[in-house]
Subunit: 400 residues, 2 copies
């Protein structure tokens, strides 16, 4: 492939960023021939003749030899990708939900039709994490990957903890700045980071995991009792996605964590994302950058073009690890549901002050998933460092 | 090139790490055929028949199609690299001093003989910074690059500031743990990070700079007055290498900095390194990892093998920026040299307490280089965040 003639689906925030970078760089090897959008009426920042609302204008054009898919709707996106790969046309996408929920099929299609699909822009925007994993850690054993994978939630938590904004005010601000979706559930409910985590788990550990199987709690269920607890102990609250393998079992979760200054995530503020990797040969590595946005994600898509020209494709790693259910130390604030005590393996602290009642203790992730049905709870996990910092009073510790 | 038959020069810490990783990975495409060392007598952790003390055993072997150079001595290393490239044999090296002091010649040799030289292991050990810059930021404008490029100095500073160890005790500990050289001047004098910075400046800005032209102050000139000042204001002291371009001029320095918790370097402790990049499209990016050591650097060398097979080579960027001499805000502790006041453009604070006298003010980097002749001074620069945090009393501010 010597020149890429591109059919682009979608012209939202990332699509426009990608288009502008392509124009600025002015590389004779890349040309956008057609842009298919839903709404023909909208004012566009590109020549009118490029646009169409008919997908066939891309699929019927024999010159188009690359499809860049940057639309919102995951199911339509999957149809586009499947159809392209089946015609041996490579695809670049940034649709995390589509990729996370079809990982196995997508690898299968790539192999069957010997045609690559790249999606650096789908995971943590400007952080070149997939490329780094494939190029650099392919010969190193990764034991753990974790980080802040959702810029909107992190922005909200920064504003609440550092500037004492209310949850609602912080979220409105994030939406006004374009960090959060109009329907923010994907962000604050922890869905978006669970998609990114599922993609990374496949690339790091070779395991395809249904994103719905990941223990997932968002920042929408947190309460001021948790913030007060954290602030009194110089801890912060961060929404952390993590996956870890030990003894052939994988633990994967997206949960708000109480973090201490020794944790890498402590200083990651506002719309920034982080990815920490623990490997056999190199120890701990950390990558930090903007997790979303027009140009950060647009550049990731643009770099996929260049990688495609070089013949780069993702390896289909396979491995045999099972889901793990080892207990984790959590802080659970409750209103009426005092009976949750029976779900714990061990209690470390129990505060009974009316309106601020909480339990700190060890609980199995599967039981935590059961508890999600009770909507008067708010939950955060302690990092190892936060456990030390909070000096959890082991004297009160008792088995349940 | 389908299989790499390797001639290895040097079998020290990194050489052994590289050898072990190669053996563990057991890739049929890579084979070490000969290892040339200085001392034949030493006990080795590899089969005796691999070793020789005669460089010609590598150069006369027609099967050897790659030279990996991992020796200490920069001048001998340069002879080896020049000879290899002239015979169109690609080279991988991790010798920062050799590379930094011969950058132009090395690019010229690579072009003349159309033969690549790779050296990811020379810059910040396990952090894949050169690969990331070449693959990911090639189409993005980098405005600044800075970080902690010397693990030994950072280890010493961590121990002094966090555990109140003396400079001597901390340095001895670093040496015992293998983080520092037996002659630690290269580390604590700031030479080692100045070589890495010169290499990065070439790769980022296209400018070949003589490492001796970089304003360079190490941690060996710091005094407890600076540590006390920092601790009283919740600041830390970090040895920071930085290069920044503005208005077509480049500022480059390796100097201890007073950093505040808003600075990326604040939480980088012990033997870890960091590289922060500010770019046009992505904003701020940060990479953190172990900066040195057997396996971290060994893996970087091993990854260069794989990149070589893929046809990867560094681009010879060229640009036209000049050295900049804009004033920086420094803390200078002095014993007798009160007359240094005339070197400042502006004074912000002047403490005359006997034995703890210091001046805080703005000084041009060229004047700071002049001051290095006075050995009763100790110097650290303020970051922008540290200036705010320290609330420099602008009321005392006066022009000199």
């Amino acid at each position: 492939m010597s020149k890429l003639t591109i059919g682009l689906f979608g012209f939202g925030c990332v699509g426009q960023g990608f288009y502008e970078i392509l124009n600025n760089e002015n590389n004779p090897l890349f040309e956008i021939k057609k842009i298919v959008v839903k709404n023909e009426e909208k004012e566009r920042s590109a020549p009118k003749e490029l646009f169409s609302t008919n997908a066939e204008d891309i699929f019927n054009d024999a010159e188009i030899n690359l499809i860049v898919e940057l639309i919102d709707d995951a199911e339509t996106a999957f149809q586009i990708v499947r159809r392209s790969l089946a015609r041996a046309i490579p695809v670049i996408s940034a649709n995390k939900k589509m990729i996370a929920t079809h990982l196995e099929e997508l690898f299968e299609l790539q192999e069957r039709f010997n045609t690559p699909l790249l999606y650096e822009g789908a995971v943590c925007g400007s952080i070149p994490i997939l490329q780094t994993l494939e190029n650099y850690y392919q010969n190193d054993k990764v034991n753990e990957i974790r980080g802040i994978f959702n810029g909107s939630s992190n922005y909200v938590l920064s504003k609440i903890l550092n500037e004492n904004l209310s949850y609602e005010a912080a979220l409105t601000q994030a939406q006004e700045l374009g960090f959060a979706e109009t329907d923010p559930t994907l962000d604050v409910g922890g869905y978006d980071p669970s998609y990114k985590l599922a993609i990374l788990i496949k690339h790091v550990f070779g395991v395809s995991i249904d994103p719905n199987k990941i223990t997932r709690l968002g920042i929408d269920q947190l309460s001021s009792t948790i913030y007060d607890y954290a602030q009194a102990r110089n801890l912060k609250v961060k929404l952390i996605a993590s996956a870890k393998v030990s003894h052939g079992q994988i633990s994967a979760s997206v949960i708000p964590h109480l973090v201490s200054k020794e944790d890498e995530e402590f200083t990651i503020e506002n719309e920034f994302n982080s990815v920490a990797i623990a490997t056999e040969y190199t120890g701990k590595q950390l990558l930090v950058g903007k997790g979303a946005g027009k140009y950060p994600t647009g550049l990731a898509v643009y770099n996929d073009l260049k990688n495609l020209l070089k013949g780069f494709k993702y390896k289909n790693k396979e491995s045999l690890v099972a889901l793990n259910d080892e207990p984790i130390t959590v802080f659970i604030k409750y209103e009426q549901s005092g009976f949750i005590i029976k779900f714990f393996d061990q209690i470390k602290e129990h505060n009974l002050t009316k309106g601020e009642s909480y339990i700190i203790g060890e609980i199995a992730p599967s039981k935590l998933r059961t508890l999600k049905g009770f909507n008067d709870l708010s939950v955060a996990v302690f990092t190892e460092n936060a456990i030390k910092k909070a000096q959890l009073s082991t004297s009160y510790s008792y088995a349940v």
